[in-house]
């Protein structure tokens, strides 16, 4: 075949030769299209699959682990939770609004495909520093895109994180997570089960948007990529809202055998995966596919990533019932194929067979192994600590947009819809109630690329420990995670080293904490022309449990004792390595904190992570405008490091003085804890010279980031 054509499909010559070898002939254009999509990194995970196998995926609550559209865990015998995180980095880098919007649409589809009603979304956003106008342009577009899609589709966005680092200049990260609730009987899979069943297409019509999206996401972001704006899909949240209602009704009425959304590589990956999972074949009649423009070629139909489309396999005789539901919601419906027992994917267009490929070949790309080798030159240099006296340093921190309120972002997201939101976005993990049960959900989605660049093994462990602390600070038990591994070019040995270290680090801590991975996504080739991103594993953790009354966020009143649980090591500040992490101690602290909350010993509890104790105090102050007075005798030269270090295993708690003895007993000598001061009326007093009014702290907090974005 003409090498130019092969290149158009973003396929290597060696992969092409492998196709010819396997087929024992030259592939047709349609077949080449199928291979290019299915063998792309985006669909096949060919560079990461071996690593991912090492992660723990089982546990008493796991119903569906990785491999389906999303993971599922049990809350009660009858009530399940489905969740997953996914990246939409490449599309958002070239077209931030639609890139982010369709990222949200895609992850929401993954959740209702499982039979679950989506109840909340979260976003992890990594960008260059906001003083870069392009970073602001991208962030503005991404936030508007998330807001546009999420608000209209009717799924509240309840939180996430925003990180700024120059490594994300050319390649920002947009990871979106959605959670959904389902009844046990409504759990669905994508596995084709019976030969002869009909394959039904529902949702939006197919157009030319998003062509080659999967292979586009499987290359680095160079100038050519910027021209590929046409590879970015266009989302319609209104249509997706109708699709959610129609799909959930079809599932509720038990009309289908299997279901899959058309995400990356559209019709190709959905049909191949459904048939492949059941070790079946499929015959697709492209003449039946609903089209937006009627001159689409077969390969365009197979590779289009038009949004808001689903593929169903109906139960025999239920087709009319399905059609009537789609008519009610005014959505397209077409029987486009049947399940066969040949193990082949057969594509028919204008009554002619235009492609026939064994599905097994599509699902198993050749594995090219690159040895993992560390390149120490890629380790970032330690950050320079600020100069000046304590007051100057603290002031600088309190005015830092990194640590300022992200209300400019989350106030654009509907976060009260569905009336499950107990804690509004902003501080700590998100807390939701589950209606008609005594159960609560805690959700957090965070990353720390810089830590992972310094030490990928310990970096991801620290992120997971932070998630578990945030969940525990709500009084809930960390239950399961989803993860998105955002890395650079997998052909570099250093990337392979980062990946293997990250997965090993995850494995160790997750096994120790008995937290399984139930879903995830890998995003590679996150590189621009000049910069590669830090290896950035994003962790979405879900916790659950019953709590009698949720603790307030922040300092709720004056005259409370304020204490730090866990050991603060000022030496951890500005070290070249990461703070150490004692996993067993971390687990013990979580359990003790939860038992303190259960016994009603604390008035408030906040985990300490990014930004250290100072950030925890800052956030605790602004919630109810209650001040804090430092009482702990400490060497003044050490105080800044004490306030800013990110030692693990720590929480900021408050309790009434009358309960001091009970709190002492709770921690006894197994968990170190230090009383650092008390809550007071209207000031933060750290030493004689370092005093700020609560109003000033709040003003800086509310404006430092906000005013940079709204100009």
């Amino acid at each position: 075949m003409n090498p130019e054509i092969i290149k158009q499909f973003n396929m290597s010559i060696s992969d092409y030769q492998e196709i010819e070898r396997r087929l024992q002939r030259e592939p047709t254009i349609v077949e080449l299209g199928l291979f290019s999509a299915m063998w792309s990194e985006h669909c096949s995970y060919r560079s990461s699959k071996e690593y991912l196998k090492r992660l723990p995926t089982h546990g008493p609550r796991v119903v569906t682990g990785p491999g389906e559209n999303a993971g599922v865990i049990s809350i009660t015998d009858d009530l399940y939770l489905s969740f997953k995180v996914e990246s939409h980095n490449h599309p958002s880098a070239v077209e931030p609004f639609q890139g982010a919007a369709t990222g949200v649409g895609g992850i929401i589809r993954d959740i209702f495909t499982m039979g679950a009603r989506p109840i909340a979304s979260y976003d992890s956003l990594c960008f260059d520093l906001p003083n870069n106008p392009r970073a602001r342009y991208l962030l503005n577009g991404v936030v508007e895109g998330i807001a546009y899609y999420g608000n209209c589709v009717g799924v509240p966005t309840l939180g996430g994180e925003t990180r700024f680092d120059s490594c994300y200049e050319e390649n920002p990260l947009i990871n979106a997570m959605t959670i959904g609730l389902l009844r046990k009987k409504n759990l669905r899979s994508s596995e084709a089960k019976h030969t002869g069943s009909n394959v039904i297409y529902i949702g939006a019509k197919t157009g030319r948007d998003g062509l080659h999206g999967a292979s586009f996401a499987s290359g680095v972001l160079d100038e050519e990529a910027q021209k590929k704006r046409g590879s970015v899909q266009v989302g319609d949240p209104f249509l997706e809202k109708l699709l959610i209602e129609a799909t959930l009704q079809i599932i509720e009425e038990d009309l289908i055998e299997a279901i899959q959304d058309m995400g990356a590589a559209g019709l190709t990956s959905s049909s191949v995966e459904m048939a492949g999972k059941g070790h079946k074949g499929m015959r697709l009649n492209l003449d039946a596919v609903p089209l937006r423009e009627d001159d689409l070629t077969p390969v365009e139909m197979m590779l289009s990533e038009s949004q808001e489309r689903m593929l169903l396999i109906s139960k025999p005789g239920k087709e009319e019932k399905i059609k009537s539901i789609l008519d009610h919601w005014e959505l397209d419906y077409a029987i486009i194929g049947t399940i066969t027992d040949t193990g082949n994917m057969e594509i028919i267009h204008h009554d002619k067979l235009v492609g026939i490929v064994p599905i097994e070949e599509l699902l198993h790309p050749p594995v090219t192994s690159v040895p993992p080798i560390q390149n120490p030159a890629l380790t970032p240099l330690p950050l320079k600590p600020p100069a000046g006296i304590l007051k100057e340093k603290v002031k600088q921190f309190l005015q830092d947009p990194q640590f300022g309120s992200k209300r400019w972002i989350y106030e654009q997201y509907d976060h009260t819809l569905l009336t499950n939101t107990v804690n509004p976005p902003g501080i700590g993990a998100s807390l939701l109630r589950i209606k008609e049960t005594d159960q609560f959900l805690g959700v957090t989605l965070i990353s720390n690329g810089r830590n992972s660049a310094i030490n990928p093994y310990l970096g991801v462990q620290t992120t997971i420990a932070q998630c578990a602390r945030r969940i525990s600070a709500l009084g809930l038990v960390p239950t399961a995670i989803t993860n998105c591994l955002n890395f650079g070019d997998p052909n570099l040995p250093h990337t392979q080293w980062e990946l293997s270290q990250t997965v090993e680090g995850m494995r160790e801590i997750l096994e120790a904490m008995e937290i399984p991975v139930v879903s995830g996504n890998v995003s590679l080739y996150n590189e621009g022309i000049r910069k590669r991103i830090y290896p950035t594993p994003t962790i979405g953790m879900v916790g659950m449990g019953s709590i009698t009354h949720p603790l307030p966020i922040g300092f709720p009143a004056e005259d409370l004792c304020v204490a730090v649980v866990g050991n603060t090591d000022p030496e951890d500040y500005a070290r070249e390595t990461l703070p150490s992490l004692d996993i067993q101690q971390e687990i013990l602290h979580q359990k003790t904190i939860r038992s303190g909350i259960q016994s009603n010993l604390f008035v408030s509890c906040l985990s300490i992570d990014r930004g250290g104790l100072l950030r925890a105090i800052q956030q605790s102050i602004i919630v109810s405008m209650i001040g804090f007075e430092w009482k702990l005798p400490i060497d003044t030269t050490q105080q800044w490091a004490y306030l800013r270090c990110e030692s693990n295993g720590r929480y900021l708690i408050t309790f009434i003085p009358a309960k001091a003895q009970l709190v002492d007993q709770l921690f006894a000598d197994k968990v170190p804890y230090t009383k650092i001061g008390r809550t007071i009326q209207s000031e933060m007093k750290l030493d004689r010279a370092t005093q700020f009014s609560v109003e000033k702290i709040a003003e800086w907090y509310q404006h430092s980031f906000h005013d940079r974005m709204d100009f």
Binding site: W329, L418, R433
Partner: protein, 224 residues
């Protein structure tokens, strides 16, 4: 027990919240009404919920105001039936001319989701009879097009007729005279941008909105 009807347009997304608030919290009966229905069931009050009816295509509320069900609701309202439009429902009511004025895009041009403090300006309506006059209440907003506007003459009219029901304490969207909610002259149709159905339980931030639904229940019992 009184009966509420909740209208569902394609793209409505606060319908489930309204149904939950009325049935599970206020403990009243609820009947869903589909946008294509031309007959409406016998109900004591109709709720037009929030969301993005017909995807907000053309203009928020514009397409919904031409839907089959709305023609019937117009007759229901003209005959004195109680109608409450929340957020997108408010937009539908102004597009339908059941309420005066228009809802422009927020002054910031951005979507705003936030807990706000309202002041009850008129507690002599069926929707607010259980509030104190000038009572401060906390109810969340979540909208992009909630900037209420009417010309000076119209504003004078609605002031004279005591049609301003709720005002914002810190105007979030640029609404003229801080208007958050208004009713018609006859006081049987209310439109408001804030979401009382999201403020019915203190666990989720505020229970001040519940009084709106309880006021409706009270006033229905009185008229029965």
């Amino acid at each position: 027990m009184i009966k509420f009807g909740v209208v569902i347009f394609p793209g409505s997304n606060c319908d489930a919240d309204a149904i939950y608030a009325v049935s599970q919290v206020a403990k009243q009966a609820v009947i869903p009404i589909w946008h294509k229905d031309t007959q409406i069931p016998d109900v004591d009050c109709i709720i037009l919920p929030g969301g993005f009816s017909y995807g907000d295509y053309l203009r928020p509320g514009a397409v919904a105001s031409r839907s089959p069900v709305i023609q019937t609701i117009k007759r229901y309202a003209v005959n004195g039936g109680k109608v409450i439009g929340i957020c997108n429902g408010f937009q539908v009511l102004v597009e339908t001319n059941l309420l005066p004025g228009v809802l422009l895009t927020n002054q910031s041009t951005r979507f705003i989701s936030r807990m706000v403090t309202l002041e009850v300006q008129n507690n002599e309506t069926p929707f607010t009879c259980l509030f104190q006059k000038n009572q401060s209440i906390r109810i969340p907003i979540a909208h992009k097009d909630g900037n209420y506007f009417a010309d000076a003459d119209s504003i004078r009219m609605i002031q004279q007729n005591h049609q301003i029901v709720f005002t914002y304490q810190n105007n979030p969207n640029g609404s003229v005279n801080d208007i958050a909610g208004i009713c018609n002259r006859e006081k049987n149709v209310l439109g408001l941008m804030p979401h009382p159905e999201r403020a019915c339980e203190s666990l989720t931030g505020s229970s001040d909105g519940l009084l709106v639904f309880q006021s409706i229940v009270d006033s229905c019992k009185e008229t029965k």
